[in-house]
Assembly symmetry: C2
Homo-oligomer: 165 residues x 2
Protein backbone atom coordinates (compact mmCIF):
# COMPACT_ATOMS: atom_id res chain seq x y z
CA UNK A 1 0.00 0.00 0.00
CA UNK A 2 2.76 2.41 0.87
CA UNK A 3 4.45 4.10 -2.02
CA UNK A 4 7.96 4.58 -0.72
CA UNK A 5 9.90 2.06 -2.76
CA UNK A 6 7.31 1.01 -5.25
CA UNK A 7 8.80 -0.79 -8.15
CA UNK A 8 12.13 -1.58 -6.66
CA UNK A 9 10.90 -4.95 -5.53
CA UNK A 10 9.63 -5.69 -8.98
CA UNK A 11 12.86 -4.58 -10.52
CA UNK A 12 14.88 -6.80 -8.29
CA UNK A 13 12.62 -9.74 -9.02
CA UNK A 14 12.88 -9.13 -12.72
CA UNK A 15 16.65 -9.03 -12.54
CA UNK A 16 16.62 -12.17 -10.46
CA UNK A 17 14.47 -13.85 -13.01
CA UNK A 18 16.79 -12.86 -15.81
CA UNK A 19 19.64 -14.40 -13.88
CA UNK A 20 17.69 -17.59 -13.33
CA UNK A 21 16.70 -17.80 -16.94
CA UNK A 22 20.14 -17.14 -18.32
CA UNK A 23 21.72 -19.81 -16.20
CA UNK A 24 18.97 -22.30 -16.91
CA UNK A 25 19.13 -21.86 -20.64
CA UNK A 26 22.87 -21.96 -20.56
CA UNK A 27 22.92 -25.13 -18.51
CA UNK A 28 20.97 -26.83 -21.27
CA UNK A 29 23.22 -25.62 -24.03
CA UNK A 30 26.32 -26.55 -22.14
CA UNK A 31 25.07 -30.01 -21.31
CA UNK A 32 24.14 -30.58 -24.91
CA UNK A 33 27.57 -29.47 -26.01
CA UNK A 34 29.13 -31.98 -23.65
CA UNK A 35 26.76 -34.67 -24.86
CA UNK A 36 25.03 -35.13 -21.54
CA UNK A 37 21.75 -34.04 -20.06
CA UNK A 38 21.79 -31.11 -17.64
CA UNK A 39 21.15 -33.37 -14.68
CA UNK A 40 23.90 -35.76 -15.67
CA UNK A 41 26.30 -32.90 -16.14
CA UNK A 42 25.52 -31.58 -12.71
CA UNK A 43 26.33 -34.94 -11.20
CA UNK A 44 29.56 -35.13 -13.10
CA UNK A 45 30.54 -31.65 -11.99
CA UNK A 46 29.97 -32.41 -8.35
CA UNK A 47 31.71 -35.75 -8.55
CA UNK A 48 34.68 -34.19 -10.26
CA UNK A 49 34.95 -31.35 -7.81
CA UNK A 50 34.86 -33.47 -4.74
CA UNK A 51 37.18 -36.32 -5.43
CA UNK A 52 34.70 -38.86 -4.24
CA UNK A 53 31.10 -38.66 -3.16
CA UNK A 54 28.34 -41.02 -2.06
CA UNK A 55 24.92 -41.14 -3.70
CA UNK A 56 23.39 -39.94 -0.48
CA UNK A 57 25.59 -36.85 -0.33
CA UNK A 58 24.93 -36.25 -4.00
CA UNK A 59 21.20 -36.46 -3.41
CA UNK A 60 21.44 -34.00 -0.55
CA UNK A 61 23.51 -31.52 -2.46
CA UNK A 62 21.34 -31.69 -5.54
CA UNK A 63 18.08 -31.72 -3.69
CA UNK A 64 16.77 -34.86 -5.34
CA UNK A 65 16.06 -38.34 -4.09
CA UNK A 66 18.55 -41.13 -3.91
CA UNK A 67 16.62 -43.05 -6.52
CA UNK A 68 17.17 -40.21 -8.92
CA UNK A 69 20.86 -40.17 -8.24
CA UNK A 70 21.06 -43.89 -8.86
CA UNK A 71 19.44 -43.43 -12.24
CA UNK A 72 21.72 -40.56 -13.18
CA UNK A 73 24.84 -42.35 -12.05
CA UNK A 74 23.76 -45.38 -14.06
CA UNK A 75 23.76 -43.28 -17.18
CA UNK A 76 27.13 -41.78 -16.42
CA UNK A 77 28.59 -45.20 -15.70
CA UNK A 78 27.20 -46.48 -18.97
CA UNK A 79 28.98 -43.62 -20.72
CA UNK A 80 32.19 -44.33 -18.87
CA UNK A 81 32.22 -40.94 -17.15
CA UNK A 82 32.20 -42.15 -13.55
CA UNK A 83 32.83 -45.31 -11.58
CA UNK A 84 31.24 -46.84 -8.54
CA UNK A 85 33.73 -47.89 -5.94
CA UNK A 86 32.45 -49.74 -2.88
CA UNK A 87 33.48 -48.11 0.34
CA UNK A 88 35.70 -50.13 2.58
CA UNK A 89 34.82 -48.33 5.75
CA UNK A 90 31.13 -48.97 5.41
CA UNK A 91 30.14 -51.61 2.94
CA UNK A 92 26.70 -50.14 2.52
CA UNK A 93 28.20 -47.09 0.92
CA UNK A 94 29.37 -46.56 -2.59
CA UNK A 95 31.85 -43.92 -3.63
CA UNK A 96 31.42 -42.36 -6.98
CA UNK A 97 34.47 -41.01 -8.71
CA UNK A 98 35.09 -39.48 -12.10
CA UNK A 99 37.02 -41.49 -14.65
CA UNK A 100 39.68 -39.89 -16.78
CA UNK A 101 37.17 -39.78 -19.58
CA UNK A 102 34.72 -37.92 -17.40
CA UNK A 103 37.29 -35.45 -16.18
CA UNK A 104 38.50 -34.86 -19.71
CA UNK A 105 34.98 -34.12 -20.87
CA UNK A 106 34.62 -31.52 -18.18
CA UNK A 107 37.94 -29.93 -18.99
CA UNK A 108 37.09 -29.61 -22.62
CA UNK A 109 33.58 -28.40 -22.08
CA UNK A 110 33.02 -24.98 -23.48
CA UNK A 111 32.16 -22.68 -20.65
CA UNK A 112 30.77 -19.75 -22.53
CA UNK A 113 28.64 -18.37 -19.77
CA UNK A 114 31.19 -18.74 -17.08
CA UNK A 115 33.83 -17.32 -19.39
CA UNK A 116 31.63 -14.38 -20.11
CA UNK A 117 30.66 -13.86 -16.52
CA UNK A 118 34.13 -14.28 -15.13
CA UNK A 119 35.58 -12.00 -17.75
CA UNK A 120 32.98 -9.33 -17.15
CA UNK A 121 33.44 -9.67 -13.44
CA UNK A 122 37.18 -9.35 -13.68
CA UNK A 123 36.73 -6.21 -15.70
CA UNK A 124 34.98 -4.46 -12.84
CA UNK A 125 36.72 -2.11 -10.52
CA UNK A 126 37.71 -3.47 -7.18
CA UNK A 127 35.04 -1.72 -5.19
CA UNK A 128 32.44 -2.76 -7.74
CA UNK A 129 33.36 -6.38 -7.33
CA UNK A 130 33.12 -6.06 -3.60
CA UNK A 131 29.74 -4.45 -3.83
CA UNK A 132 28.49 -7.12 -6.19
CA UNK A 133 29.59 -9.94 -3.95
CA UNK A 134 28.01 -8.26 -1.00
CA UNK A 135 24.75 -7.75 -2.82
CA UNK A 136 24.60 -11.29 -4.12
CA UNK A 137 25.29 -12.73 -0.73
CA UNK A 138 22.63 -10.57 0.73
CA UNK A 139 20.07 -11.79 -1.77
CA UNK A 140 21.14 -15.36 -1.23
CA UNK A 141 20.66 -14.90 2.49
CA UNK A 142 17.21 -13.51 1.92
CA UNK A 143 16.30 -16.43 -0.26
CA UNK A 144 17.61 -19.49 1.39
CA UNK A 145 18.22 -18.74 5.01
CA UNK A 146 19.12 -22.38 5.22
CA UNK A 147 22.39 -24.09 5.67
CA UNK A 148 23.45 -25.08 2.25
CA UNK A 149 26.66 -26.55 1.11
CA UNK A 150 27.22 -24.54 -2.00
CA UNK A 151 30.48 -25.11 -3.72
CA UNK A 152 31.72 -22.72 -6.37
CA UNK A 153 30.41 -24.82 -9.22
CA UNK A 154 28.30 -22.72 -11.46
CA UNK A 155 28.93 -24.50 -14.66
CA UNK A 156 32.06 -26.38 -15.39
CA UNK A 157 35.77 -26.32 -15.13
CA UNK A 158 37.42 -24.70 -12.23
CA UNK A 159 37.35 -21.01 -11.81
CA UNK A 160 40.22 -19.49 -13.70
CA UNK A 161 42.01 -18.14 -10.68
CA UNK A 162 43.94 -21.23 -9.67
CA UNK A 163 42.38 -22.83 -6.67
CA UNK A 164 43.08 -26.39 -6.03
CA UNK A 165 40.94 -28.40 -3.64
Amino acid sequence: MSISAPDRTDESLIALRRILRATELFARDLAQAVGLSPAQLRVLQIVAERRSVTPKALANQMGVSQATVTALVDKLVARGMVERIPSEQDRRQTNIVATQVGSAHLENAPDALQQRYVAAFARLRDWEQAQLVSSLERVADMLDAQDIDASPVLTTGDIQSGRKG
Copy 2:
Protein backbone atom coordinates in the same frame (compact mmCIF):
# COMPACT_ATOMS: atom_id res chain seq x y z
CA MET B 1 47.60 -15.20 -12.14
CA SER B 2 47.32 -11.81 -10.57
CA ILE B 3 46.28 -11.83 -6.96
CA SER B 4 44.32 -8.63 -6.76
CA ALA B 5 40.77 -9.98 -6.48
CA PRO B 6 41.36 -13.65 -6.09
CA ASP B 7 38.38 -15.27 -4.50
CA ARG B 8 35.85 -12.62 -5.27
CA THR B 9 34.83 -14.41 -8.39
CA ASP B 10 34.38 -17.60 -6.48
CA GLU B 11 32.41 -15.84 -3.83
CA SER B 12 30.09 -14.31 -6.34
CA LEU B 13 29.59 -17.64 -8.05
CA ILE B 14 28.87 -19.33 -4.78
CA ALA B 15 26.29 -16.73 -3.89
CA LEU B 16 24.79 -17.07 -7.32
CA ARG B 17 24.57 -20.76 -6.87
CA ARG B 18 22.85 -20.38 -3.55
CA ILE B 19 20.31 -18.14 -5.21
CA LEU B 20 19.74 -20.64 -7.98
CA ARG B 21 19.40 -23.50 -5.59
CA ALA B 22 17.03 -21.72 -3.25
CA THR B 23 14.70 -20.73 -6.04
CA GLU B 24 14.83 -24.12 -7.66
CA LEU B 25 14.05 -26.01 -4.50
CA PHE B 26 11.36 -23.57 -3.63
CA ALA B 27 9.77 -23.83 -7.05
CA ARG B 28 9.31 -27.54 -6.47
CA ASP B 29 7.82 -27.16 -3.04
CA LEU B 30 5.50 -24.46 -4.18
CA ALA B 31 4.30 -26.42 -7.18
CA GLN B 32 3.67 -29.42 -5.01
CA ALA B 33 1.70 -27.31 -2.59
CA VAL B 34 -0.45 -26.07 -5.44
CA GLY B 35 -0.86 -29.60 -6.74
CA LEU B 36 0.89 -28.99 -10.02
CA SER B 37 4.29 -29.77 -11.41
CA PRO B 38 6.84 -26.95 -11.53
CA ALA B 39 6.55 -26.66 -15.28
CA GLN B 40 2.77 -26.54 -15.16
CA LEU B 41 2.88 -23.91 -12.48
CA ARG B 42 5.20 -21.79 -14.54
CA VAL B 43 2.78 -21.90 -17.41
CA LEU B 44 -0.11 -20.98 -15.17
CA GLN B 45 1.83 -18.08 -13.71
CA ILE B 46 2.66 -16.63 -17.08
CA VAL B 47 -0.83 -17.15 -18.41
CA ALA B 48 -2.31 -15.48 -15.36
CA GLU B 49 0.02 -12.55 -15.48
CA ARG B 50 -0.52 -11.75 -19.09
CA ARG B 51 -4.22 -11.94 -19.58
CA SER B 52 -3.88 -14.02 -22.67
CA VAL B 53 -0.96 -15.66 -24.38
CA THR B 54 -0.32 -17.91 -27.35
CA PRO B 55 1.57 -21.17 -27.15
CA LYS B 56 4.29 -19.72 -29.30
CA ALA B 57 4.85 -16.78 -26.97
CA LEU B 58 4.77 -19.15 -24.05
CA ALA B 59 7.37 -21.34 -25.67
CA ASN B 60 9.59 -18.36 -26.31
CA GLN B 61 9.31 -17.01 -22.84
CA MET B 62 9.90 -20.37 -21.21
CA GLY B 63 12.64 -21.42 -23.53
CA VAL B 64 11.04 -24.71 -24.52
CA SER B 65 9.54 -26.01 -27.72
CA GLN B 66 5.98 -25.51 -28.78
CA ALA B 67 5.34 -29.21 -28.49
CA THR B 68 6.27 -29.03 -24.84
CA VAL B 69 3.91 -26.15 -24.29
CA THR B 70 1.12 -28.09 -25.92
CA ALA B 71 1.69 -30.96 -23.53
CA LEU B 72 1.76 -28.69 -20.51
CA VAL B 73 -1.33 -26.79 -21.54
CA ASP B 74 -3.11 -30.08 -22.08
CA LYS B 75 -2.54 -30.98 -18.47
CA LEU B 76 -3.69 -27.61 -17.22
CA VAL B 77 -6.80 -27.78 -19.39
CA ALA B 78 -7.54 -31.23 -18.03
CA ARG B 79 -7.35 -29.80 -14.53
CA GLY B 80 -9.57 -26.90 -15.46
CA MET B 81 -6.90 -24.31 -14.77
CA VAL B 82 -6.74 -22.73 -18.21
CA GLU B 83 -8.77 -22.59 -21.38
CA ARG B 84 -7.89 -22.55 -25.04
CA ILE B 85 -9.67 -19.84 -26.95
CA PRO B 86 -9.24 -19.71 -30.71
CA SER B 87 -8.07 -16.34 -31.90
CA GLU B 88 -10.41 -14.46 -34.16
CA GLN B 89 -7.77 -12.30 -35.73
CA ASP B 90 -5.72 -15.21 -36.91
CA ARG B 91 -7.38 -18.57 -36.87
CA ARG B 92 -4.05 -20.35 -36.66
CA GLN B 93 -3.52 -18.93 -33.25
CA THR B 94 -4.88 -20.06 -29.93
CA ASN B 95 -5.13 -17.86 -26.89
CA ILE B 96 -4.63 -19.42 -23.55
CA VAL B 97 -6.32 -17.83 -20.59
CA ALA B 98 -6.61 -18.75 -16.95
CA THR B 99 -9.95 -19.91 -15.64
CA GLN B 100 -11.30 -18.69 -12.34
CA VAL B 101 -10.20 -21.94 -10.84
CA GLY B 102 -6.68 -21.41 -12.10
CA SER B 103 -6.52 -17.85 -10.85
CA ALA B 104 -7.88 -18.87 -7.49
CA HIS B 105 -5.23 -21.55 -7.14
CA LEU B 106 -2.56 -18.98 -7.77
CA GLU B 107 -4.02 -16.54 -5.30
CA ASN B 108 -4.16 -19.12 -2.59
CA ALA B 109 -0.74 -20.53 -3.28
CA PRO B 110 1.54 -20.11 -0.36
CA ASP B 111 4.37 -17.91 -1.46
CA ALA B 112 6.83 -18.49 1.31
CA LEU B 113 9.91 -17.60 -0.59
CA GLN B 114 8.52 -14.51 -2.21
CA GLN B 115 7.03 -13.48 1.09
CA ARG B 116 10.35 -13.87 2.75
CA TYR B 117 12.26 -12.17 0.00
CA VAL B 118 9.85 -9.30 -0.41
CA ALA B 119 9.67 -8.76 3.30
CA ALA B 120 13.41 -8.81 3.70
CA PHE B 121 13.79 -6.52 0.75
CA ALA B 122 11.26 -4.05 2.09
CA ARG B 123 13.14 -3.98 5.35
CA LEU B 124 16.24 -2.62 3.69
CA ARG B 125 17.14 1.02 3.67
CA ASP B 126 16.36 2.93 0.56
CA TRP B 127 19.90 3.18 -0.66
CA GLU B 128 20.44 -0.48 0.04
CA GLN B 129 17.50 -1.41 -2.12
CA ALA B 130 18.81 0.76 -4.90
CA GLN B 131 22.23 -0.80 -4.66
CA LEU B 132 20.78 -4.29 -4.68
CA VAL B 133 18.73 -3.64 -7.77
CA SER B 134 21.70 -2.15 -9.50
CA SER B 135 23.89 -5.10 -8.63
CA LEU B 136 21.34 -7.68 -9.69
CA GLU B 137 20.78 -5.95 -12.98
CA ARG B 138 24.47 -5.81 -13.53
CA VAL B 139 24.85 -9.53 -12.95
CA ALA B 140 21.90 -10.24 -15.17
CA ASP B 141 23.51 -8.19 -17.90
CA MET B 142 26.73 -10.11 -17.53
CA LEU B 143 24.91 -13.40 -17.76
CA ASP B 144 22.40 -13.07 -20.48
CA ALA B 145 23.48 -10.31 -22.76
CA GLN B 146 20.55 -11.45 -24.81
CA ASP B 147 17.21 -9.97 -25.44
CA ILE B 148 14.94 -11.61 -22.99
CA ASP B 149 11.40 -10.86 -22.14
CA ALA B 150 11.47 -11.27 -18.40
CA SER B 151 8.34 -10.35 -16.59
CA PRO B 152 8.31 -9.87 -12.83
CA VAL B 153 7.14 -13.38 -12.11
CA LEU B 154 9.46 -15.05 -9.67
CA THR B 155 7.07 -17.36 -8.04
CA THR B 156 3.41 -16.67 -7.75
CA GLY B 157 0.87 -14.12 -6.88
CA ASP B 158 1.42 -10.53 -7.71
CA ILE B 159 3.99 -8.56 -5.89
CA GLN B 160 2.45 -7.24 -2.74
CA SER B 161 2.79 -3.62 -3.75
CA GLY B 162 -0.44 -3.24 -5.65
CA ARG B 163 0.21 -3.40 -9.33
CA LYS B 164 -2.63 -4.23 -11.58
CA GLY B 165 -1.91 -5.15 -15.15
